[in-house]
Subunit: 258 residues, 2 copies
């Protein structure tokens, strides 16, 4: 699984530095420190603060642990507009039952969308108690809502940042590993319908050859295999691998199934 790779070139490929976390009107400096740590652990490093109640502050530094460099580098603004300057996409986080008329995304869907882009993006988090105001949300093109249980929605600010930073990392790792594995995939087109059909015939013949059949439901097996092969986007090379394997089985058994 690619996300356990420690290779620095993958880390570099993530380009998470174009992603900005903006905290608006944070009351507790401890939350700013915890948010910085939550960001850094997932590879984010651009922290923007809009009118923090108290910053810099000892509690922020204490909770940041090894992420105090993000606090040192944090940009402090008096207006939300300044903090999102230069961003091509701005996401506002919001509680679920707010009256709004634009699409609300889950953190996962938002992160997948963001991973498809390459320009600066801001994700804006509101005050601990009151969230973002309507006029602040008007500056965002999209809303993100983190699912919580309906009876207790009291998600801590730094925990919200942690979930979003985690989803951003997951989405970028997956997009990066797709990019790496699809190098040269242009030379490996999807299998044609007739290739898939020949594979199905060959597979069933070898299954019969080795005596693998559910004798009571032969048709069920055929149907399942047909359905599976059609539902997956087999590539030309993958069909070749499976057919090569089937041919090797036949050779070992000294008889041809077809």
């Amino acid at each position: 699984m690619n996300y356990f790779s420690e290779e620095l070139d993958i880390e570099a490929g993530l380009k998470l530095s174009r992603l900005r976390i903006v905290l608006v009107g944070t009351s507790h400096p401890g939350n700013i420190g915890a948010a910085a740590r939550a960001m850094k652990v997932m590879g984010l490093d651009q922290l923007h603060l809009v009118n923090p109640v108290r910053f810099p502050a000892m509690e922020a530094t204490a909770r940041a642990v090894g992420a105090s460099d993000l606090l040192d580098g944090a940009e402090v603004h008096s207006e939300l507009e300044q903090s999102i300057e230069g961003c091509s996409l701005v996401y506002g986080t919001t509680a679920r039952n707010r009256q709004i008329n634009w699409p609300i995304l889950s953190p996962r869907d938002a992160a997948l969308e963001i991973a498809q882009t390459e320009t600066p993006v801001a994700i804006v988090f509101g005050r601990e108690q009151a969230g973002l105001s309507n006029s602040e949300l008007d500056l965002c093109q999209r809303s993100i809502c983190i699912p919580t249980q309906s009876q207790f929605k009291s998600l801590n600010l730094s925990q919200a940042v942690q979930i979003m930073a985690y989803e951003l990392r997951m989405a970028h790792l997956s997009s990066e590993s797709q990019k790496q594995s699809s190098i040269g995939q242009e030379k490996d087109p999807l299998a044609t319908a007739s290739e898939t059909q020949l594979l199905r015939t060959h597979l069933l013949a070898v299954m019969a050859l080795v005596g693998y059949y559910d004798p009571s439901y032969p048709k069920l097996l055929e149907r399942r295999i047909g359905r599976y092969l059609n539902s997956t986007n087999l590539r030309h090379s993958e069909v070749q691998i499976v057919r090569g394997f089937l041919a090797a089985i036949e050779q070992r058994l000294g008889s041809s199934a077809l």
Copy 2:
């Protein structure tokens, strides 16, 4: 999107109360409180503590905010064995570079696997600095590793609990909405991560047995097969079909590949 629904019957359908969060040897009571809040906001409510350094404690209650009921109901044990009693599956969380010889899952894969089960499950988190000991990990059947950046892995304990609780909620909401939208498919769930892993191992072993390898690129074949199996949503029944086929090949050849 179903996870924004506030319907209580969906909430009830999640059955998250069978999921136990076990914190081992926690040093800072504040982290216990923050973990309780992280759990409750995602609908988890079974908190077990093994040898907490200090509990109950004011800092725990302060950080729990509205989740102090989880602290009141928390079971405190002197041995990890007691805390996981009655659990059919136990997951241990671990840093990525530990030497272990069983599968390491991402939080997402683990949550998807757990959402397929209906029995009590425990997820065990270690000490803030030292994690879980090897003998504690020996009591777990699976390991979970949260992906972090390679240069700064200092994930706060309650943040780790938050990510895991969030993934559990997402997986259960998605599984619940699948159940509601497709009656009959419950009999054929998606293959678990470990089923897919076992299939991969079995397949490669039989390929070696029949002498099917691209001798110049053995690793390439392994990688291609791993990628293919992970990219398709294999169902439990499909894994069984392929493994039955592989077993039939072995039987015909009169030798076992594994």
